[in-house]
Each structure stands twice: as structure tokens, then as C-alpha cells.
Symmetry: D2
Subunit: 472 residues, 4 copies
């Protein structure tokens, strides 16, 4: 592939070996390897509803609750395997499922060929077993203005030219997961748009190294350690990119929406409902590894993990909460006319609120159990640990429980990485903020109906209305 990824001022020639990206690639590789193990095969491999062939799960259409619950289970497994985000098996998958439904709607309305285009692309993608990352979040610019009101229109990805054989797009998608490990990037519109913003109603798919696309990897906490040797950071890890489209040409057969603003609302609704249902499994999977790290730290400190049982139970309950609500949102969902499953919006967004909150408690408990060297990773570095002169002193004084100082240090570094380091995936704003989720909860709560229930039980017969002048 062409080298269009950069970090710290340099271009990355080979993503599989460059320190800035090799951990993200390793994460995906480890998870893909699981497909070969009998116990995981049914989770990683499924039958295509399009061709009947065996395909990778994350290339499939999710048509039943069980299909979508498998999405959740795969995410949890990925976190168990790598400790953090394996985004190439996540957003893109969800994105093309969303567009499966939306392209059917658009075609029905306007006689376009989007759905057929998508189907062709998907059959090919299934056959090749490609990793497809997904990109939703625009640079956005001023948060109090609409896309068409921005002084620089490019801050939201937009079509700048239409040609007979395709379109030219310009703009940025920010904070996109695992692009460096992916083959393709699937683009969704970043918002529900009205007519004046129709140039931003865009969905398409491009190869990761398409001409005109510049990718810059984001700096993350403690990411310089990824350039160093030693155990101060694990061998796996996430990656997030900024994508800059400078007049990129997208051919018609890879275009799934271009100007049909009236359908962007459904894109956002379907994508967020499904994404926020399933994301509960991500944080529970990482939380499970935090439980494991806490158990190991207790032992490395010379204590039984049972000393901290009430905290461990709380961590586990937190994990099962977001996992359980996610499964609940799926179970209470419905099938779209186009055949794909859609999770319940109200429950899914309730989950997002928890996803943005509970992991902070789980991290706190992990740090509380682990002790001071976990809380901020407050230990000398690997270089010091192995220093010839005073390294022996460090090892002498870091030893605690019935294991080597190195095992204790490695475990503490893992806990640091999970709770305050490069392993933190960023679940609060990933896929949208909790305040956005609260607005959906608001919109889906039938306040007037509940008020009627209360009136009936209380025996109130007159109308109770909001004051006319009341605002806010």
C-alpha cells in the first residue's frame, strides 16, 4: 500500500513494523488468528446471507438479534485478547450494515443504484476478508454553527465536484479508530442534515491509501513508550487517526449517499443505536482485563485477591451492566425492511450514558486494589529497572509477593496502561458524547404519557399543562 500515514513528523513506510502502528496491527492479527481455533471459530466466522459462503463475521450483515449479539461477543473477546480497541472489526462493520438499510430507502425513493453498489462491494469484501474501518466524526469546526454556516466549509467532509463517473470530496474525519490496520475506510455522514447542508450528506468507501488522502496518527497518553524497548507498554494497542481528504475522487460504484440529506437522520439513528448497544461489550471486555490485572496485582503485592472481593464484585457488576443493557437493546430491537437488525434506540443510548461513566469507576477500583505503583505507574522506567548500576536496587525493592519484581512491574504497567495510559480507548466520546445520548433518551421518553398514568392513578381529572410563557 502507498505510504500515506504519518506520526511525529515522519511518514510510516510499513505499518506492520513501525513502532507507531505495529501494536494496532498486532492487535488485529491476534484476533484474526482466533478464527483458527475451534472454540472461537463460530464467533469469528459465519455464513454470508448474500452468497452462503463462509466469511469473516465482521464482513457480515446482521439480520437477527443473535447476529448482533455475536458482534458484542466478538468485541468482548477482542478486548480479552488484546486489552484494548480492535477498531478494524467494529465501526466499518456497523457502518455498512446501516447503509444496507438506508441505501434501500434511497433507491426506493429516487431510483438510484446505491444499494446494488453496496451489495457488489460487500460481496467482494466478504470474499477477500478485508478489514474495513469506519469514519463518522468530522472535524466539525465551531460547535455552535451548522455545517453550511462554518467559515471554512471543509471542516465537515463534503462533495466539491460531481463528475459523470464519480465525485470529488474534501474535508477531514477525525479520531478514526484502527485505520492503520485496515484495508478500506467506510465513510458515513457525521450528522443528520437539512437541505442547506446537503453537500455534507455523503457516504462512500475508499481504499486506505487512496490518492489525496493524508493520514496523521493521533498522539495518545504515554505513546512514546511505543517507540521504546521493554515492558513499559504491552505489544498490543489501539490507534486513532486524523484523515485529511484533499480533493479525493470517489467512483460512483463506491458511493452510497451523495446529497440525499433526508436520509441522514436514519443513518445517525441506526448507526448510533447499534453502535451504542454493542459498545457495552467493549468496556466490559476491557473491564474484565482490569479485573484480571487487579487480581494479579493483589497477588504480586503478597495478598489474596479475596481481600478486595467487594471491589472486584463491583467491577464485575459494572462490566455486566453495559454488556447486559447492550444485549437488552438488541433483544428489544426490530428488523428493518431491508433485512438488517436495529437495536432499540432508548435502551442503546441509556447504555451510552453508562459506557461513559461506569468504566471510570472500574478504573478507579483497579487502581485502588493495585496500589500506588498502579495509580500513576509510579515506578522507575524499564531502562532504570535494567540499569547495570542501580537496577538491582530497583528490583530488590519492587519485589513484594511470591513472584519476580519484573512480573509485578509488568502487571502494574498493564494496569497503568488500561486505566491512565495508551490502552484507554476513549469510550466517553467515541461514537458520540453522553450528552448526545441523553438527548435521545429525552426524545424517546413519553413524558406526556407518563403524566397521564400518574394523573389517572392520583385521580386528577383536570388538565395539567406547562405554563405558556415557560421556556428553556
Amino acid at each position: 500500500m502507498a505510504a500515506n500515514i504519518h506520526k511525529n513528523g515522519e511518514v510510516i513506510a510499513d505499518v506492520t513494523t513501525h513502532p507507531a502502528t505495529k501494536r494496532a496491527v498486532e492487535s488485529h492479527a491476534r484476533c484474526l488468528d482466533l478464527a483458527r481455533l475451534p472454540e472461537y471459530q463460530s464467533l469469528l466466522v459465519t455464513k454470508s446471507t448474500l452468497t452462503g459462503h463462509k466469511i469473516l463475521r465482521f464482513n457480515s450483515l446482521m439480520c437477527t438479534p443473535d447476529d448482533m449479539i455475536a458482534n458484542m461477543k466478538l468485541k468482548r473477546l477482542n478486548y480479552h485478547t488484546t486489552g484494548s480497541c480492535v477498531g478494524g472489526m467494529c465501526v466499518g462493520w456497523n457502518a455498512f450494515n446501516t447503509m444496507w438499510a438506508v441505501t434501500a430507502d434511497i433507491d426506493k425513493e429516487s431510483g438510484s443504484d446505491y444499494h446494488e453498489n453496496l451489495k457488489k462491494w460487500l460481496i467482494q469484501t466478504e470474499a477477500q476478508g478485508l478489514l474495513v474501518s469506519g469514519a463518522l466524526t468530522d472535524a466539525k469546526g465551531n460547535r455552535s454553527l451548522k455545517a453550511s454556516q462554518q467559515s471554512d466549509l471543509d471542516v465537515n467532509l463534503r462533495v466539491v465536484e460531481k463528475r459523470p463517473d464519480g465525485v470529488v470530496v474534501r474535508g477531514a474525519k477525525n479520531m478514526i479508530c484502527s485505520v492503520c490496520a485496515s484495508d478500506e475506510i467506510f465513510i458515513l455522514p457525521g450528522n443528520a442534515y437539512k437541505e442547506e447542508d446537503k453537500d455534507f450528506a455523503l457516504s462512500f468507501v475508499v481504499p486506505r491509501d487512496i490518492a489525496g488522502l493524508t493520514i496523521v496518527e493521533a498522539r495518545r497518553p504515554s505513546d512514546d513508550r511505543e517507540y521504546q524497548n521493554g515492558f513499559d507498554v504491552p505489544d498490543t494497542g489501539p490507534a486513532q487517526s486524523y484523515l485529511f481528504f484533499e480533493d479525493v475522487f470517489v467512483p460512483n460504484e463506491r458511493l452510497f449517499m451523495c446529497g440525499e440529506y433526508g436520509h441522514t437522520g436514519k443513518v445517525i439513528q441506526y448507526f448510533t443505536a447499534n453502535y451504542r448497544a454493542c459498545i457495552g461489550a467493549c468496556v466490559s471486555g476491557q473491564g474484565d482485563v482490569m479485573i484480571g490485572a487487579a487480581v494479579n496485582m493483589a497477588r504480586a503485592n503478597g495478598l489474596s485477591y479475596k481481600t478486595f472481593m467487594d471491589k472486584l464484585i463491583q467491577m464485575s457488576a459494572n462490566n455486566e451492566t453495559t454488556y447486559g443493557i447492550g444485549a437488552g437493546a438488541i433483544a428489544l430491537g426490530k428488523k428493518d425492511d431491508a433485512g438488517v437488525w436495529v437495536a432499540d434506540s432508548l435502551i442503546a443510548h441509556t447504555n451510552k450514558i453508562h459506557v461513559a461513566t461506569l468504566p471510570y469507576e472500574t478504573k478507579r477500583l483497579c487502581q485502588e486494589i493495585g496500589g500506588g505503583i498502579v495509580e500513576t505507574g509510579c515506578m522507575p522506567s524499564y531502562k532504570d529497572f535494567t540499569n547495570e548500576e542501580y537496577g538491582p536496587l530497583i528490583r530488590k525493592y519492587l519485589k513484594a509477593g511470591d513472584c519476580s519484581a519484573e512480573s509485578r512491574a509488568r502487571t502494574a504497567r498493564l494496569a497503568e496502561w488500561l486505566t491512565i495510559g495508551a490502552g484507554v480507548p476513549g469510550c466517553m466520546h467515541g461514537g458520540g458524547s453522553p450528552d448526545g445520548a441523553r438527548l435521545v433518551v429525552r426524545a424517546n421518553t413519553p413524558f406526556e404519557q407518563y403524566a397521564e398514568y400518574a394523573k389517572k392513578i392520583a385521580g386528577v381529572e383536570e388538565d395539567l399543562k406547562d405554563p405558556v410563557a415557560a421556556k428553556k
Copy 2:
């Protein structure tokens, strides 16, 4: 029926008219009436898997996730309709579903006829559309001793005599919901027993007014208001009873377990998993009515409910949390060999922790929105409100928003009733305590497996074991 129910030192001749029980009866009646409305019929009525006939939903076997989700939906609807617990459509239903699986096991093991007995009873019960309450909780006696160690063996319901045609039982079941509104009472063992406690491994069903059974209604907060006229308490409401069995004879055909202690663990496991999955819908249903009461109070105070939108969103998110986790526990459940569905234990017990916690926040928010007259119902009584002499002063000074003082007072009384009055159903310990649920979370969390994940990601290769001497 025979008059075997008492309260406040008197016997209750007619449960439908006596002030101590008529609200519970009214609650059940209102919900049953919904079966006649087209929009609710499919929820209240279903097809028997035994006979193919149309039956009341709460008489049915739950064989699919959708069957069990319908249980949840019915509970939420019942709370919407009555504001509180409609227990005659709840515990008994769950209890006979549990015994459907367990009796099959026992019969398979020992050649007994329990399953066939249960089937016959259920077909008859379906046909007659009976309300069946369920009873699990024994008096228990000293909480640090086992059943067979108690100084008074009767504190757990037990068999005291076996006859050719049946058995004689003695003991108590405490805090049993909606008995006064029910036709039958279905009994489960209150614990998972070992061999020394086999006399307590008992399951059977009896008519509510069987000879030898004395029922005393429990006093609940503000329940004296139920003896008075006026609007200080709604027309609906819950009821809880103490059941005293003084050598009650149970014929063999109504006996479903008698001594088979080895199967009591599964009774507890199945019953609690299903009950705690579905109970999330109870607290969400009551929470919805609290939202409604809060909206109405804001307006009755002269304010828009939008003033309190962040609190209302939090209340709604709380409701959807327990509802969503419940649905998730069901979706992640499995089918028992006997055909009934069983919810996932870990998720269901995680839900119980929330059911015992979140409603306290929802109540607090309802009181916070409603103001001082809601918090403790701090207003003069109905008698004062309607007093000839100074009643006009009360009405003058209780008027606030654009409605009558009476509507404001009624709404405040409803909120009081829901949050600190007779309407509080007692969800913390209902069906078992949250600490019990935490033990199940503990037992179902694979700590060692999680520790292995963490070791692998951290690159720790040596064993990390608990200290040998560690206890607790």
C-alpha cells in the same frame, strides 16, 4: 372463599370490600380489564403451549425469549396502570415455570409423577384463568443457622407427616405479595438445601383459603389511610401477607417436590435468574409513574417540567437501565431441556443490584422536583383540606400553578405514596437481597480466566497465586 385473612386484629370477611385488601384486589382487576382492550390483548392473552387454547399470559409457560420479555412488558404495564405491585401476576407464574423444569429433572431421576401432576394442575389453572401468587421466603429464624439447626424447626416450612395420599406441612412463609387477591398459592423451597435439611425441600400449591392456613396482612407505611375516605391514598395498591401453615394437608397431586433436596439449588437458580431479570420492569414501570408524577407536580407548582429536564432524563435512564439489563439477561439466557426459558444468571443478578439501588435515586429525584409537599407529604390531611372552618384557608394556600389545590394535593400525595408511602413495593429485598445477588455475581465471574488474560497481555509468564495462608 373461607375468611382466613386478618389485619389489625380483625378477620376480613370480603377481600373485595374490606379497606385492608380492596386496593390490592382493585389493582388486579384493573390489569385484568386491560385484556379486553385491543391494544393490550396480545400482551395479556397468549396461546397455551399445552392445549393450544387462548389463556391469560400469566398462566402460560415461557418457552422463548419473547415469552419472557412479555412477562417484563406485562409487569411494566401493570405498574403504569396501578402505580405499584400486582403480585398475583408475578411470583406464582415464575414459580410454576421453574418447577416445570425441576419436576422434569426429579421425575427423570426418581420416576416420580411430579411433572405430570404439575401439568394437570396447570391445564386446569389455565382453563379457569386463576390468579396464582407465589411464596418463597420462609420466616427463617436465626440467620446464622441452617434450617435443621434452628431451635424451632417450624421457622422454615417443612413436612411434618407423610401419608399415602399426601403430606402435612407446618411453618410460615413471610412477606408474600398479593395473596389476598389470588386464588391459589404456589410454594417453593426458600433455599438450596443439603441432605440434613431435606424436610424443607418442599414445593406444592394450595387454594388460598385451605384449612389450617392463617394469613395476616402486613402493616405498611401509611396504610391506615387505606381505612379512610379522601385522596390521601390512591384506589390501587399492593399487599403483603404472612402465611402460617398449621399442619396443612397437601394431597399428592398438588405436590411437586418433597424431600428431593438435591434439586433445590436449581429451583433457586432458575427462579432468581428469571425473577431478577423481569423485576427490572417493575421498578422501571413504577419509575415511569414517578416521572409522570414529577411532571405533574412541576406544572401544579406553576413551572414547566422542562425546568427539571436533566433530572427527568436521569430518572428515565434509570428506568431503562433495569429494563434493558433484564431484557439482556433474557436474550443471553438458554432453553432448559424441559422447554422453558431461563435467563442468564450473571446478568440477572447484576440487575438485582441495580433494582435495589437505582429506584432510591429515582425516588429522590421525584421528591427533589416535586418540592417539600412531596418529600414527606407535608400537607394537612384530606379531613383538614375539606374542613368547613379552616379548609378554605388550606385550599387557598395550597394552590400554586394553573390547577386546583385539590389536583396539586392529589399529585403530591401520589408522589408521597410512590416514594415514601404505601405504594413502595419493597424491591430491595423482594425475591432476595442484593448481597445475595452479589454472591451470585462473584460465583459467576471467572476471576482466574480474567487473570490469565491480563497475564498474557502483560507478558507475565510465571504463576501468580494467592498466598497460601490468606483467608477471608
Copy 3:
């Protein structure tokens, strides 16, 4: 005293014997009795700064941090003694301290005699050792309108006539604590008023039984039990009243503000700062009794209280939180020019937020430890407990730990009373709502200064301003 107190439609001839008021009177009597015990004397008795005589603490001016901390300590002691609110030693005390400062201001500004009037009244009150309740909260009417905008102007207490020797007032003060046990009632304006509302800027003191004043006791949770014999309710308890002033004449020498609206802001500021600092001791005192009730319940159930140690520690930490913040607000306060101490507003209102929140958790934990019979008091009534026929069955089956069934029932009833019964004092809205407190926190947080700190540390040199058009 004249009989001007009513409840449930009847007049109360003797507050010390009538069931509706005798518990509140008993509460005050028990606390007053403590003055005779050497270990409590220094808390209940102090030296008058006006006369140098020994006086009851709650008749004193609070001029130092220690004086105000003694207020806190007395409140906690009162709750330890009675389990609930002893309001006759609370609001009035705080009210006249507030007016001590404000009357000095007014007199200085306008040459009036309010301060001297207050001093004379206070010396007399000290000498007689009177109980003075305090009243702030007006009926208020429509919450979205100002006092002068209400359709019925009386919904806020106001002056309707000025005479040479005094004024005539009309209106209502609602939800006023412990009036029935008090000798006098000290009135403060219920809000910070502007000029158009000057008729509501009123402060004065009246005897409890003054002509033209009608008092109606509020109904509280489970308060009918107070009319019954037995142990379903303790012998102590709170009381809250509605006060209706129908053209009551207040002589000049008992008038401390009448129209000086410009000083009402300081009344509210001083009163709430001090009140909300000290109220932390109320909820901690009641929380201590909840700890005690939980310990006793554990034992009555046959368990060691240590089984629940983590919950008990949390309860204790909650209690010490509101107590500690209260003491902190006092320590960070300042002396007013008139000599009285004023707590720090920001810290005091932060405390109010906790006072409106933490007790709900403490109650929940008390119910969680106590079990189902605590949660909603789910046991047969005293009448049933002592019933000749089936009372023995109840007592047989309520016995659990190494004590009588009666001790267990009494303890459960206490816990019910504290957490969901007549003992709940109503701390969320008492003395103002937590949302009001949040507004004070907002007003006292120097957001722009904090923004400057952040800019300096971040090295940001340009101005960062709010968008011009931004509203809300």
C-alpha cells in the same frame, strides 16, 4: 395557651397530651432534660453575651466559630436523643442571630429601632428560656411568578396595614417545624425581594397562640400510628405546621423588618449559610441512629453487625461528611460587624447538596442491612402482634436472633420510622432546595479566575471568550 392548633379536623386542646403533638413535645422535653446532666450541661447551657447570665444555648447569640459548632453539636445530640427533628431549638435560634446583624444594618441606614427591639426581646427570651420556632417558607403560590405578581397576594406573608403602634399581617407560612412545642414563632422574609415586593419584606416575632393565627399540623408518613397504642411508632417525633395569619396585629416592639426590601438578600444569605452549615449535624445525628438501628437489626436477625462492616463504614463516612463540611463552612466563615458569626456560603451550600443526597444512601444501607421487615416495615401491626388468637404465631415466626420477637419488631419499626416513616424529617427541601444551593455554588465559583489559571498553565495567551450569541 389558646388552642389554635388543629389536625385531622379537630382542635388540639393540650399539645402535651394530644396524640398529634405529644411526641414533638416529648422530643423537646427529653433534650431540655439533658441540661441537668453534667456531661451535657456545657452544650445546653452557655453565658449570655448580653447579660452575662447563664442561659439556654439555643437562646444565645453565636459570635465565634465555637458558638456555631456548638449549634451543630446540639443538633446531633438532639437526634441521638430523639431520633428526629427537634425544631424548636433550631430555626428560631438561627433566625434571630441573622436578624441581629440585619437589624443593625437597617438601623444604621435608616435610624430605626429594630436592633434595640430585638435586643430587648432577646434578653427577655433568654431570661425565660423560651423555645422559639422559626418560619421562613411562604405558601409561595405560582413558582414562576414573583410575590407581587401572584393573583392572590396573600400567598406570601405580607403587611396589609400599618398603624402607629404596629402592623397587621396576612398570609401563610408553610411546613414550619415544631411550632406545637414552641412558645414563640420568629418570622423571616421568605425570599430576597426587590422594591415592588417590599410589602413582603417582613420580620417579627409572635406568641404561638396569638389572635388571628390558625395552625394546622401537616399529615406525615404513617402518622396515624401516633394515635394508636403499641410500638409501631416511637414516643418521640417531629411535627410540621401550616401557619395561617388572618390579619394578625404585630406591635412595633416585636417588629424587626417591615418594607426594607434592600436587606432581605442578606437575611437569606446569612440564614441559609448558617442553617446549611449546621444542618449537616442533623442528618449525621439521624444517620448515627440509623447505624445503631442497623447494628441492632443485624443482631436481632442472628448475625454479627460485622457482617455488614463495609456498609456501616459507608454510613459513618456519610454522616461525618455532612458534619465535617458543616464545621468547615463555619471555620471558613467570618464575623459580621454586629458581632455574630456567619458561615462560608459556598461551603455551606455545598453541604446542602450532600444533605439532600447522602441520607438517601444511608437510609438505603440501613434498609439493606436490616432486611425485608425494615425496608417497608413489612410485618403485622402491633394489634396483630398482640392478638390473642394468632398473635402467638406472629411472635413465633418473627423471632430470629438471640432476643425476643418484640425487640426485633421494635427495632424494625424504628428503622422503618427513620427511613420511610414519620421520623423522616424532610431534609431535602427543609430550609430550601438543593437546586437553590446549586445556584449559590454557581454564583460563588469564580469561573473566569479558574479559566485564567488554566490559560496560564497551558500557555494560552489570547483571549478565550464565550460566543456572543450564546444563551441559556
Copy 4:
């Protein structure tokens, strides 16, 4: 000073210029500079109670509540100035105040000269205005064994030889704040010891560069950025060190405890009570800067900070909570016979629980307000930001509100640094863990007394005792 500090395998020749330490030095310098400003002088400078001379506040004895509240205020100011821990004005100060009381006790008991030694040292320290860091936490080794049971006795700092003119000590003190910026290090025993552990009962003071002491700086989150140019990290910052004592000689006149194990309990009690009272000001000071960073981020995103007012109020209330409880613990403290003030233990340790909890919520809210680029600092690095080729793209797409992209990036990096970066000071375990604090809350809560209050109010007359066999 001798170069005995190391990091990343290299020795640090000059702490004021080396990237690993210069930020900690800068932090102290900025705060010391405040002493020259009139508005801060009274906080930074006070009068010595020993000599009457003007001295730096952090060299003083704290003899009154106001002295200790000044400690709190200084800490909050330091955080406002530097954004993080300025430890050279903290632990040492508290440590010598503690030993002021304890040495007096020891001398009284055994006729030693410790107190006089301390006094001489303190007068000299005051005169020179030295920065004294403090060290309490030993390496500890196996957490389930006592000091004398460890296989390597050195894991707790101990005396290995007594000479006529002093003692030789060996061992380690880990995670010690701001040593690199300090002149001296004041040592306290790390635990309350019994006789078998008397060799660990050690207190003394040494110059930072004493012979035999090897110091290694701990690696902290994202600390490699401190070696780089640009704005990815602020110019200030904390530092924590590991101190390895390899047979260091301490002369008698700098020795304040050596073997008097019976007094170690009071050392721990006094130190933790005062430290945990005052540490509330640290987290509130950093929380204030988080409020500022959140306000700035909102604006840099194009929004008014008022959009997030409810979250900002919560952040402020969190800050005032730990500050207020700290002040309360001080106000409720007492004077030791030796003249120094000691905070109330129960309230101070309650504060520690909040200090270990509330900042996590404050950080979460800061991240929630700031958006995705704050949550994990998910932006390209400074090197990318200023890259000639694609830097303009980054700047184009990071611009949002009415300020430069650089100001937005700087502010986001500050928020990252405060919440998930090198600025996080480690308050959960700093000065001891919250579980340790909970044990103190447990030990100081009079459970039996509270149980008696509850019995009296409930009318329970018989004894309620814990079951004999109950353990745990």
C-alpha cells in the same frame, strides 16, 4: 549538590535544567515567587513561634486552626499556580510538625534529646528557608507480612548499626514527592510498629544529596513529553522518586526517633490526620484548574461554558467538598500538649475517602465537557502540528471556536495532562490508601453507643449482642 538523582538510565547533573526534573523545580520556583506579591505574602510568610522572625510558611509550626487552614490555602494556591503537586511545601512540613509532638513525648518518657535536636534543626531550617520533602512510604515487600517477617529486612527502612555519634540506616522509601526540588528529606516511620519491629521505628532528616543515597525518578504517564519541545506538556509538573539508602550515616543531632516503637502509632495518627485534612485542598485546587480548562475548552470549541453549567457546578461542589471537610477536620481538632494542632482523625479520614473518589468524577466531567480531543488527548503531536508539509492541514481542522488552533490544542493538552497525563498527582494512594482510611473511620465510629441510642428510642430493653460464634 552532589548528583545522586537518575532517570531513564542516566544521572541528572543539574535538576534545574534536566528535562526530567526541571518542571518540578519550576513549580516550586513559581510558588516561592508568590511570596513577593503583596496579595499572597501573608499566606507564604508567617512569624516563627520559635524565633519571632519572618519565615516561610512551610517552615513553621502549626499551632492553631488558622495555621493549619493556611496550610490548606497554600496547597490550593500552589495547584492554581502550577496545576499539580508542589510536594516540597507539603509532606516535610507536616512531618516535622508531627515529630514536634512525638519527640516531646519520647523525651518526657526516656530523657532523650530528640525534641531539642528537632528544635535546633528547625530554627536553622527556618533561617535558611529550606525546602524539606517528607518520606513515609517504605518499599514494604510482602503486604501480608510484618516488617520483621520479610525475607529481605531492607524492604522497610531500618537501622543496621548504632554508633556513638549516630546511626547507619538501610532500605528504601518509595514514591516520594518533589525530592528533586528539595534541600532536605525528612523521614518518618512507615507504620505503627510493635516491639519486634523496633528497628524500623526511625525518624531523621538528611540533605538530599547525602552519601549513600541513590535516587531514581519514577516514570509517570506521558513523561517522555517532558524531554520534548512544544506544548504537548506544560512547563510545570510533579515528580516522584524512589530513595535507596545504602548504609547512610545519620548523626545524632538529626535523629528524632530510633527504636521507640511505642510512639510510632502516634506518628501515623497525627501525620495522617493532618495530611488527610489538608490534602482536600490539593484536589480542590487541581479541580479548580480542571473547571478552568473545561471553561476554556467549551469556548475553544465554539460554545458557551454555560452549556455545561450543571457539570461545572458538580465539579465545583466536589472541590468544595474535600476542601470543606478538611477545614472541618481542622476546626474539630485539638492542640497537642507540645503546642501543635492536630486535626480530627475521623473527619480527616472521611476526607481521604472522598479525596480518593471525587477527583475521578471531576476528571470525567472535565473530559466530558472538553470532548474527544480532551478525553485521551486524541490529536496529532506538536511535531505534526508544526510539520511543514501537513501541519497546515492539522491546524485547519483543529480550529473550532473563536481562537487559534494552537490555543485549542494547548487547552486540550492541559486537560489531558490534568486528567490522564503527567499532571495527575496520584491522590488515591498518596499518604495512604482509602481502605486504610476506612479502617480509621471504623475504629472511630462508636457502634455500640449508636446501638444504645437506637435501643432507647425504640424502647428495646433487653441486651442485643453479637452472636458468640460470629467471626470476620
